[in-house]
């Protein structure tokens, strides 16, 4: 078993570029994808939480902790990697890739990056807010045969080689202890990610982004999930405004018949 010593630790943080969904997204009328004009792209919010946690661990444990942000995509993805550098990541790596990618192929590529970078910990978001899959971290842990702790809302070191992770589950808050190296996926309440300051963003523009071709990693990701069609979900309810509680109860009883 590998020991993770106090004075050297590598954390890999996969950061996915996603469209911000705060204002909702529009689907192209032909169902081929989303309308990408005027979209704002961001680091997947759950990945930003993972990055914040990695930076927090480095601040607690000293500068010998190295935090590497990694992303899989074309040159457009550099802008979110620069945000990661501006937030405080030590290095940024982009696996150059063009085309459709699914959680399975993400896990394949990340497994190859892990074999090359040899991190002690992979910290990543529990899901990306574009496809909402919630799979890549678990698949990565399975491919690497590493322990996993998903949906983390608290992460603490028990000793240099073990983490205690509080997990948000449907039944409540579950605590597990995992041995490093491990994959931990992050939930909303783990922390509040810091903002990248403007000077830091300006500085990050000059910093290098290491580019690897997926061929150099020895993987050619072939998605197993093919999106055939996308359509906008429309809610066709027309709200009936009621005057008071009595009218509401009457309508629920005799019109909607749900009570």
């Amino acid at each position: 078993m590998r020991q993770c010593l106090d004075d050297e630790m590598k954390i890999l943080v996969p950061t996915k570029r996603v469209p911000s969904t705060d204002e909702g997204v529009r689907i192209r009328p032909d169902g081929s994808g989303i309308e990408d004009t005027a979209l704002v792209y961001i680091i997947n919010p759950f990945d930003a939480i993972a990055l914040e946690e990695a930076l927090h661990i480095r601040e607690q444990r000293g500068s010998e902790v190295e935090v590497t942000a990694v992303s899989i995509g074309n040159a457009d993805f550099d802008s979110e990697l620069r945000t990661a550098l501006a937030m405080g990541a030590d290095r940024a790596v982009r696996v150059d890739f063009e085309g459709a990618i699914d959680p399975w192929s993400v896990a394949q590529v990340l497994a190859a990056v892990v074999r090359r970078e040899k991190p002690d910990l992979v910290l990543m978001g529990k899901q990306a807010v574009d496809d909402d899959s919630n799979q890549a971290g678990q698949m990565l842990a399975g491919l690497l045969n590493w322990p996993q702790a998903t949906f983390a809302s608290k992460i603490e070191f028990v000793d240099p080689a073990r983490l205690s992770v509080a997990r948000e589950t449907d039944r409540g808050l579950e605590t597990v202890i995992v041995r490093l190296p491990a994959v931990v996926t992050t939930d909303l309440r783990l922390n509040e990610p810091r903002y990248a300051s403007l000077p830091a963003l300006m500085k990050a523009k000059k910093r290098p982004i290491e580019m690897i071709s997926h061929r150099d990693l020895g993987v050619s990701p072939e998605p197993k999930v093919r999106i055939v069609h996308l359509e906008q979900i429309a809610i066709d309810r027309v709200c009936v405004r009621v005057a008071d509680a009595a009218e509401l109860v009457h309508r629920l009883r005799y019109e909607a018949k749900v009570i």
């Binding site: 909402d132 491919l143 449907d170 202890i177």
Partner: protein, 320 residues
């Protein structure tokens, strides 16, 4: 060949959501001619196995090292059983249990996976699955490559399966504990006890938002109305963040996704992340002091006013 339904249980009974997963499995099996089997994993499973056998033949994996659902051991067990039974599909209810374990099992099986499936169809013999994306703004139709297929389904989108006339057989699967992974250690579970139905299984859900500033206030209004309606109590992310309600009560894109017959939103403005968790409810009631709140735009019935005044009136009216 078989279709395996990975059962979720409470140590005594199947969870109702597993019966919805079973409905999907039975229907897929009707197309493929495969046999449906329930896979029950845990420790001390006699009563769960008996309950499960009412619905399908059961593969029982009973071992002290499987007492808690740790992803490494469960995923390995699911992969082993899948290989041995030559299962063509694995189906489960989409809960944090399945979301934690099944993607890992997929990786071990080199299998494609689709989560949160709400519908499906066969087109020219190919299975097409429907699942929401972009916080529920879009419905994607996806096809999976290869076999086995791993699918988690939203229980609220499918009816619960009925028991068989004759109980299914029970097949005991023996495990060699020394071959199970030992990477993680289960410490414990902390949950707020509640006598109300589980959110994702309830016919009525009453949820509260920002107007409720303490746990007592939440109980007095949201909890009481939920109890009068025999429903579950839910909340927005803001209330969990503020420590007013526990995480497992959160409805939304990253919390629980519910689709009850009746959803009552008390003082919830209606951020897209919350709407993603409830907009497929059959009837939505919005009560809010802000007449412009986005929740009204997706509600069946809207009532503008102060929830503190309206909830006691509702409780009084319901009692009549």
């Amino acid at each position: 060949m078989s279709i395996l339904v990975v059962a979720e249980h409470d140590g005594k009974h199947l969870r109702p959501g597993s019966c919805s997963a079973l409905t999907v499995a039975r229907d897929l099996a009707a197309h493929s001619g495969e046999r449906v089997e329930l896979l029950v994993i845990g420790s001390g499973l006699d009563s769960v196995a008996a309950d499960a056998a009412r619905f399908a033949p059961v593969i029982v994996v009973d071992h002290p090292l499987l007492a808690n659902a740790t992803a490494d051991r469960y995923a390995q067990t699911i992969a082993d059983v899948t290989n041995a039974r030559e299962a063509g599909s694995i189906v489960a209810n989409s809960t944090t249990f399945a979301k934690d374990i099944l993607p890992r099992a997929s990786a071990l099986l080199n299998a494609a996976m689709a989560g949160d499936v709400t519908g499906y169809s066969f087109v020219n013999g190919e299975l097409l699955l429907r699942r929401p994306m972009y916080a529920g703004a879009a419905m994607a139709t996806v096809a999976l490559t290869g076999q086995p297929l791993v699918i988690t389904v939203r229980a609220s989108a499918f009816p619960a399966a009925q028991p068989l006339v004759q109980p299914g057989e029970r097949i005991v699967w023996s495990v060699n504990g020394s071959t199970l992974p030992n990477y993680s250690e289960y410490v414990g579970l902390e949950s707020r006890p509640t006598l109300r139905p589980e959110l994702t299984e309830a016919r009525v859900v009453v949820s509260g938002g920002r107007p409720f500033r303490t746990g007592e206030e939440f109980e007095k209004y949201v909890g009481r109305l939920a109890d009068v309606l025999n429903g579950a109590a839910g909340c927005t992310r803001a209330l969990v963040d503020a420590g007013i309600a526990p995480n497992e009560w959160q409805v939304g894109q990253t919390g629980k996704v519910v689709a009850p017959q009746l959803y009552v939103a008390l003082g919830i403005s209606g951020a897209v992340q919350h709407l993603a968790g409830m907009k497929n409810s059959r009837v939505v009631v919005a009560v809010n002091s802000d007449p412009e709140a986005p929740m009204f735009s997706i509600a069946t019935y809207g009532l503008v006013g102060d929830v503190r005044q309206i909830v006691p009136e509702l409780i009084r009216e319901l009692g009549q």
